[in-house]
């Protein structure tokens, strides 16, 4: 995934950020592996698969939701502990908040890039 445009739009080189990439990968479901092209300075037309990104984001949120629904059903049957349900709920909440933030950032960056005069 080429993110030159994203780097330009966000005004930073995200590969240089000290982010726990594995955790982010898992939580967001997006592939943020460092195997991406980060040549800052060279400007290409944005090559971002927006549809793919959004689909990924939706998928990322779905897994914890399914997990939560499963745990809720089990709890109601007396087969699951309440604290596990609470934890699953918080995880689902975290993942959706995170995904929404990433999505927003990506969209902002995209828009910024698209507005740029060539």
């Amino acid at each position: 995934m080429k993110i030159d445009g994203i780097n330009a739009g966000m005004g930073m080189d995200i590969s240089k950020l000290d982010l726990p990439m594995d955790g982010l990968d898992q939580a967001s479901g997006l592939d943020l592996s460092p195997g991406m092209s980060v040549a800052s300075g060279s400007f290409n037309a944005p090559d971002i698969d927006m549809e793919g990104l959004i689909k990924d984001a939706v998928k990322a949120v779905d897994a914890p939701q399914q997990e939560l629904t499963g745990k809720i059903n089990n709890f109601l049957q007396g087969k699951e502990e309440l604290h596990n349900v609470m934890i699953a709920a918080e995880q689902a909440r975290f993942s959706i908040n995170f995904t929404v933030k990433v999505r927003d950032k990506i969209i902002d960056a995209y828009n910024t890039v698209m507005k740029m005069q060539v």
Binding site: V61, Q65, L68, T69, I72, N73, F75, L76, Q77, G78, L82, V85, M86, A89, E90, A92, R93, I96, N97, V100
Partner: protein, 109 residues
Amino acid sequence: MEAVDKILSKALDTIWAKHEAIAGNIANSDTQGYVRQDVDFQGQIDDLLKNDGDIQNWTGPEIQQQPGVPIKLENETAELSENTVLYDSVAKITALRMQILNTSLGTGS
């Protein structure tokens, strides 16, 4: 609104109905001839899960009569506590689920 939301809402109705039954048992602990009432929460949940939360002609949770079962205050107060905790748990779970739905729709704060 998914199945789980329908189930949660009916679960709350059921727990509330059970609370009414317990309240009636306690108030009538001295009433001659009063028949103990109860609600089978687990049975209701099993039904709901089988039907994804949609039960045909749902008129509310089923209240069972238990003739011959004596009303003992210690048992009723124990059931009362348990039912209160159950209600609080399910209410909290419902609240969290609503928050998540709101966030995903962007309708939350």
